[in-house]
């Protein structure tokens, strides 16, 4: 993975020093709370319901074991012994004291991490395919370009006070695991007719109260011009995006208002004028960064791996975990192992400091010291030998980390909701927990198959409910928490926004409603159909009838 050079290190050190001074000015009363707010937000520090929340950037979801241990230590020293992995592949601490925040930034800088631009109206942490570099069929490791974009966007002098937040995602495989089209800019790596590698650029995606999928701006941007092209897209947005209404300030609203053709025309005109003076991406810099993402020295392993196949045959529980949580690796004899952070009754995405330490140990022992955070709030060991899977699984089990539910009905995405968040209208976590309890039987989950439930506690859609196969949105109905259900959303390359089923439910009725939806699907599904397939074939009506039937 990428390692800081002296320049990268200096920047995060200077940033930490700057923030220490800002906190000092605030504590001394030299800065008002109003003046301090944008400064702390640019360093990921939010004021939540009960305390400050600090959001730490995990660039494109890649972490070293050393970094994960540092996060565990921060959780232990400054928080309540746990952290929360987010749908943006980041980590949040929920119980931070303002006066500790500068020390935490120093601790982060010591392991080449930061909280720069994890909030604020600026370019946020760049997200990428969680299996980048180890997935089969990849055009190139997208993290090379995600890292270059991370650097380019950090303290960008022109684009640090945009109309609203700005999210960029990148993938180099199909299927798209990074939900690229739900981002302000979505990048698909591709090869053109001449065999050159470049980027297909989409713009104008976003969730929130007006969900929209990004539209194609340009089919092919060569590597050398990627940053210049992104600058043109953001410059048009910076100059023309709405600033009068926070709910209409994202780029999606501008793209929609202008129409994609007019938007493209403006971007292309700006690009024609700046392609030579904008940010270059020289081949030497690409090569420098790419060297950090070279594949590790894999052993040549003969397949099938007999010990692995035997364990799978003999141990039914292990076999179940392999079926659901182990993903094919591009290198024969290796596997991608996903650690579910969705145990029944747990808080989706939470890990204790002790668990983080243990997972870091597993990464060292079994996965060449590297980990990934997924936008579905799980952790990944990307380089595990198949022969080690059984031992790894046993160790995970001892820590409560071997839940075999990846992609299943209990692998729920949920935002922090009203338990923590000052914006929320309703709680998300208890809803996820009640659904997990209802479907706790692993055989039943497996029989249902892939079904993605996503829960947001308010219309800001941090829990991605719009793109859940089943989406659940918490709303406030005359002071009571109510939940609206949507069906048929998806976040892949055919991304769609779910349709509203009908009137909402009070919290205690949500699990039953979900069960009726699942039963409807099971009754209607044809051979091999997943929930989404059946829904797309039969439409929303049969689900509606069943859920709202009298009695």
């Amino acid at each position: 993975m990428y390692r800081y050079d002296a320049i990268d290190q200096r920047l995060v050190d200077e940033r930490a020093a700057q923030f220490r001074e800002q906190v000092r000015r605030r504590m001394a009363g030299e800065l008002s709370d109003l003046e301090f707010k944008p400064l702390r937000l640019m360093n990921g520090l939010y004021l939540q319901l009960h305390a400050y929340m600090l959001r730490i950037a995990v660039p494109y979801g890649t972490l070293s074991s050393k970094q994960l241990r540092a996060l565990a230590a921060i959780g232990r020293k400054y928080d309540k012994d746990y952290g929360h992995f987010t749908t943006r592949q980041n980590l949040q601490f929920n119980w931070i004291k303002l006066e500790d925040a500068p020390d935490i930034l120093d601790d982060l800088a010591a392991v080449e991490m930061h909280a720069i631009q994890t909030s604020g109206n600026c370019v946020r942490n760049v997200t990428a395919d969680q299996y980048a570099g180890v997935a089969a069929g990849e055009i190139e490791d997208p993290r090379i370009y995600a890292e270059i974009i991370r650097q380019w966007s950090s303290l960008h002098p022109e684009f640090s006070f945009l109309p609203r937040k700005f999210k960029i995602a990148i993938t180099a495989t199909s299927p798209d695991r990074a939900a690229v089209k739900t981002h302000d800019i979505g990048l698909f790596m591709k090869r053109n007719d001449k065999g050159e590698i470049g980027f297909q650029v989409f713009a104008g995606g976003g969730q929130g109260r007006t969900p929209m999928m990004a539209q194609l701006v340009r089919d092919f941007v060569p590597k050398a011009e990627l940053l210049a092209y992104i600058e043109s897209v953001i410059r048009v947005y910076n100059l023309m995006g709405r600033r009068d209404n926070i709910h209409k300030a994202r780029i999606k609203i501008l793209v929609h208002a202008l129409g994609i053709d007019k938007f493209r025309e403006l971007v292309e005109a700006d690009f024609a004028a700046t392609r030579d003076s904008g940010s270059p991406m020289p081949a030497a810099e690409i090569a420098r960064v790419a060297a950090y993402f070279m594949p590790p020295a894999y052993e040549r392993i003969e397949t099938p791996v007999r010990a692995f196949e035997a364990a799978r045959f003999e141990d039914r529980d292990f076999a179940r975990w392999v079926t659901h949580n182990v993903v094919a690796h591009k290198q024969p004899g290796y596997a991608i192992a996903v650690i579910s952070l969705k145990p029944t009754g747990g808080i989706p995405g939470d890990a204790t400091s002790d668990q983080m330490d243990r997972i870091a140990d597993f990464a060292d022992r079994y996965s060449i010291g590297e980990l990934r955070v997924t936008h579905e709030q799980n952790l990944v060991l990307p380089n595990v030998k198949q022969a080690d899977l059984h031992a790894l699984w046993r160790e995970l089990g001892k820590e409560g980390l071997a839940t075999p539910n990846l992609g299943l009905i209990t692998d729920i995405i949920a935002c922090p909701g009203l338990d923590y968040c000052a914006l929320a209208n309703a709680r998300s976590i208890p809803i996820a927990q009640r659904i997990q309890e209802k479907f706790a039987d692993p055989d039943r989950q497996a029989m249902i198959g892939e079904l993605k439930i996503k829960i947001s506690g308010c219309i800001n859609a941090c829990g991605h409910h719009h793109v859940g196969h089943i989406g659940i949105l918490g709303v406030d109905k005359q002071g009571e928490e109510f939940y609206q259900i949507t069906l048929g959303g998806s976040a892949d390359e055919n991304a769609t926004v779910g349709k509203i089923l009908g009137k909402g439910f009070p919290a205690e009725q949500v699990p039953d409603a979900i069960e009726k939806l699942v039963d409807t699907y099971l009754g209607l599904r044809a051979d091999g159909e997943l929930f989404l397939d059946t829904y797309r074939r039969v439409g929303i009506e049969p689900f509606k009838e069943r859920v709202y039937a009298a009695g």
């Binding site: 950090s154 022109e158 006070f161 810099e285």
Partner: protein, 167 residues
């Protein structure tokens, strides 16, 4: 408002002329974009230096052809978190090659000063309580940058590959 240029407080010698005001016979004046567009010929004959006040919602390309007439472009930050003038400044300085003064006015906060300078702004109207030491400290908060912009600071990519080429 105190005005900083080249690292020190300076006197503002420019008079801002309102859209209804009579034009003075001479002296350095600034006019709004509206007035410039309406009275271009009369203003071109003004016996003195000319400056233009560009609102944050104006497209800088619309004044590109006129830039040679001006020695000062005044940009507006209507709110501290409104970054449109940063794009305007960079276009005018870097793309259009404007060599005169570009001045930041409005809600100019300390934590934007360095970004403003990088985008080509070289004069800053500060809040009355700001000291020159404070301005200088703000300018020194970062010594490394990842992006080229409208100033002479050398971005990381170039530093790295210069160093590599020298090895």
């Amino acid at each position: 408002m105190p005005l900083v240029k080249h690292g020190t407080f300076i006197e503002n010698e420019w008079t801002a002329i309102g859209d209804e005001d009579a034009l003075p016979g001479d002296g350095p004046i600034t006019v709004s974009l509206v007035r410039w567009q309406k009275e271009r010929d009369a203003l071109a004959g003004h016996n003195g230096r000319l400056g233009l006040r560009l609102p944050a919602d104006a497209d800088p390309t619309s004044i590109r052809a006129d830039l040679g007439r001006f020695e000062l472009i005044v940009l507006d930050f209507p709110k501290f978190n409104d970054g449109r003038a940063l794009s305007q400044a960079r276009m005018i300085r870097q793309r259009f090659g404007f060599a005169g003064e570009i001045r930041a006015t409005g809600h100019v906060i300390r934590d934007l000063l360095l970004f403003m300078a990088r985008c080509g702004i070289d004069a800053f109207e500060l809040a009355p309580e700001r000291t020159i030491d404070d301005w200088r400290a703000a300018m020194r908060e970062f010594s490394v940058w990842y992006q080229p912009a409208a100033d002479a600071r050398v971005p990381a990519t170039e530093l790295r590959h210069r160093a590599m080429a020298a090895e």
